[in-house]
Subunit: 501 residues, 2 copies
């Protein structure tokens, strides 16, 4: 989840000046509404050392009515707190109806900082995960709106910030030898944080991950997210009458054009280098070599009874079919199966969402390739409204849990997102229309989906972030050049087995 972030995202000063006043005005207005409606709010900030928690909390609360909130800075437990169960000190801070609490660090400290520094036992970590999930569920069930922000900076940026703080006499005291040690051990903290986010990113209390290298970017993203959560809560509290006769909407401050989105949206995809390509000769040589190698891998998997799941997702016309054909070209057909996934049948709709995928999972020693997959829930079903918001929100966790179960059974799980540019898609659509042999591949629905590109991109970005786990990460495949994509997929599959076979 964290490694996939694009930390180069930023907002120029002039643009920031243009949007910040309206954004913060909007935030303050929503806070008033929440107070009037008696909605209790809890916002917590976790993040790497020097990721700017203090500054960003300030940016968030400056516009707010100071009578409405209280900021708590969480330090190591004092004597009173150390004498009580772990969550006690947080229970006593729960805001009452209409009030708001902001936490600078939180109950998550044990799951990453303390876990790393005090070498806590897996048993204690596990127990803490259970306690936290139970606690957050009770908050939600009691109507308290919890927002969890994770602020992310990389090792280099952290070092830079430490140096700056050290170089000023007023801030020198803030940097200790422990901080430098943390920077040195950055990757251990990162790993612990990744695991923590996976274990506690739930439908009732999701994490919001903020790229925090650029302060303006982080400020806008944090406020936007808070606005959006509060708007949804206020909306859901309206009576049916209010809903059908909507009051004049609070003015929308952030222009939601596509251009705007390019500026402030996350852009995991935009980092894919679509200029990557292979020459035909090199492609042909490598391809056939890898194909033969994969056949060996298939037999090894069979002998060692290791199952493998390969998921293909990607834009329309990104080349899923072609990729799968090249992948399976040399394989023994008794060892693998390709499962094309379309809209669910009536039989499938009559069961839990993941049912139709569960029943098709490979047995030990076999390979199942999904041409589209369970990720439809958080893409097409989300965008087209085929399921409720609650359903797709819940699905991230359900999916992670399913993949985790596959992995703990010993399955290798690979997930490919085939990425092409919007322009390349257009070119391929037109080529299909012009080619009598390929016309069947292009339908009016493809054109309709294309119009919703920005909505799909948002959904894809969120999917890649929230379902890239330490045990089943996504591979984004630069697929503008078909040769490059096919070779990358083959190589990734072969490499994934290297440590196992």
């Amino acid at each position: 989840m964290l490694k996939e972030l694009d930390l180069s995202l930023k907002i120029e000063k002039e643009i920031f000046k243009g949007i910040y006043p309206d954004l913060s005005g909007h935030l303050a207005e929503l806070q008033r509404h929440c107070r009037e409606k008696g909605i209790a709010q809890l916002i917590l900030f976790e993040g790497m050392s020097a990721s700017g928690k203090g500054t960003l909390i300030n940016r968030l609360i400056q516009p707010l009515d100071p009578r409405g909130f209280k900021v708590f800075t969480i330090k190591p437990p004092n004597e009173e707190e150390a004498l009580r169960p772990y969550l006690w000190r947080y229970w006593i801070k729960i805001p009452s109806a209409g009030r708001m609490a902001v936490l600078d660090r939180s109950w998550y400290q044990r799951l990453w900082v303390e876990k790393v520094e005090q070498k806590l036992s897996p048993h204690l970590i596990h127990q803490t995960v259970l306690e936290i999930n139970s606690f957050e569920k009770q908050l939600r069930d009691a109507g308290i709106v919890l927002i969890k922000f994770w602020l992310q900076i990389d090792k280099k940026e952290q070092r830079k910030r430490f140096k700056i703080l050290e170089s000023h006499p007023q801030t020198r005291w803030r940097i200790t030898s422990q901080d430098w040690q943390r920077n040195k051990d950055y990757n251990r903290y990162l790993k612990a944080a990744e695991e923590m986010l996976q274990d506690t990113d739930t439908g009732y209390a999701p994490w919001h991950i903020i790229e925090a290298v650029d302060e303006r970017w982080a400020t806008v993203k944090i406020i936007q997210k808070t606005v959006s959560v509060w708007e949804n809560v206020l909306e859901s509290q309206k009576s049916p009458v209010e809903k059908s006769n909507p009051a004049p909407k609070t003015k929308t401050v952030i222009p939601k054009t596509e251009k705007k989105k390019e500026e402030t949206g996350s852009s995991l995809l935009s980092r894919a280098d679509l200029s990557l390509k292979l020459e035909k000769k090199e492609y042909q040589d490598t391809l056939s070599r890898y194909q033969k190698e994969l056949r060996e891998v298939e037999y090894d998997l069979y002998r060692k009874r290791i199952p493998m799941v390969i998921v293909f997702e990607g834009w329309d016309a990104a080349g899923k079919g072609g990729n799968i054909r090249r992948l399976t070209y040399e394989l023994d057909p008794r060892g693998y199966e390709v499962v094309p996934v379309a809209a669910p049948t009536e039989q499938e709709k009559a069961r839990p969402y993941l049912w139709r995928f569960w029943i098709r999972m490979p047995k030990a020693g076999h390979i199942t390739i999904f041409d589209r997959s369970w990720y439809g829930r958080v893409m097409v079903e989300r965008v087209e409204g085929f399921c409720s918001e609650e359903e797709w929100n819940r699905a991230y966790r359900e999916i992670r849990e399913m993949e985790q179960q596959l992995i703990s059974f010993g399955t290798i799980v690979l997930k490919f997102w085939l990425h092409i540019s919007k322009e390349e898609q257009l070119k391929r659509f037109k080529a299909r229309e012009d080619n009598p042999l390929k016309q069947w591949k292009i339908t009016r629905e493809d054109w309709r989906n294309r119009e919703k590109w920005p909505l799909y991109r948002d959904a894809v970005e969120e999917m890649l972030l929230r379902t890239s786990t330490t045990y089943a990460p996504w591979t984004v495949v630069e697929a503008e050049d078909k040769y490059y994509a096919r070779v990358k997929v083959l190589k990734t599959v072969i490499d994934s087995t290297r440590n196992i076979l």
Copy 2:
């Protein structure tokens, strides 16, 4: 949960003959409604060997339309199944909309039988608990109605049944040396089952525990429970219009009078021997000896920094106040606190239910005595409708989780239910009214509560069962004789520290 069961419960043949036909007719009718509404149903049976799963499943399904359901007998996994993740074989059995599946054994086998016999690692057990809870939550979210029955017989009954089976030529083959070994190790299986029930008794998929020594009793309780779950589901699926204009109710078959309840309700409380008493002289001697001993215990707890939580619940006029006074008589007031619990204030209502108890938990080395407690949620609030059914149903688990957190912090948790008969209560009420010094203690509300005795008794029984855990069991105190009760409480508190101090 299991040790507290009264396995002597039974129904006479004549009474059974009187109610079974109507009950099963009602069941069949509800099944038809469920099919029409497209509600998928899953009923699973777990229980001790020879607890009668086969027979009872038969009793349940005999009245049903055989086209509507399918019974699965779960054996050790076959080759196909062993080659896939643990839950795969259950996923493929999920019934589609309107269909019903009955499972004889289930995904719970790993959590108790296999755990005991294959010495599974705590890690695997823990992972399986997570997988099962996640699975059952997905079933619920998909609208599938899951009912889980646990059939309980004791060691002696099990031995008896094995002998009977062995003595008949037709059934001799069913009893193997493994069965006898299981009988010998009965307590290990019981402990594993207790832990399993605690870990997987959730708001979305609660366990129903059946006293299965008497087949007629078990049959009626299983059908009644199924009827009640299905009725609730059908009711909740009605449109608001249907709800406000109720169609003529399906005829209520089971007369819900108090007398009836005495016959078929659970009776954990009725087993308390209320004739237990102490003579004054013995009482006075023992009391003062224990009180002094408890003071030593208090100091020991303080020195060793062990916190203690004591909960007093019981019928009105059962003697909570008097008990607490005797308990604390010799204690050092700096070491303990008595927290009287009344209806929540506005401030408390504005927060999650358990908040007001959390904030009052003792610090290490201290004792907190709750005069009434968080159990109000599943008693008075349930009976008087001060919270929704969903809320009190969820509370059993929330409470268990809270107590588990206290215990994993090292707290000693003791819970006393002071039990008196309805007649004794009447006597005490009247005595209070006649005594000018005690008149304040009796209000009109006490009389009103008394009228709802049967409703309260149901709630208390369910509370005792579902929140008696291996780590924090209830102690039912026979309080008809005040002397006896006070001494028993003191002794229990002192004994609880014996293994720790």
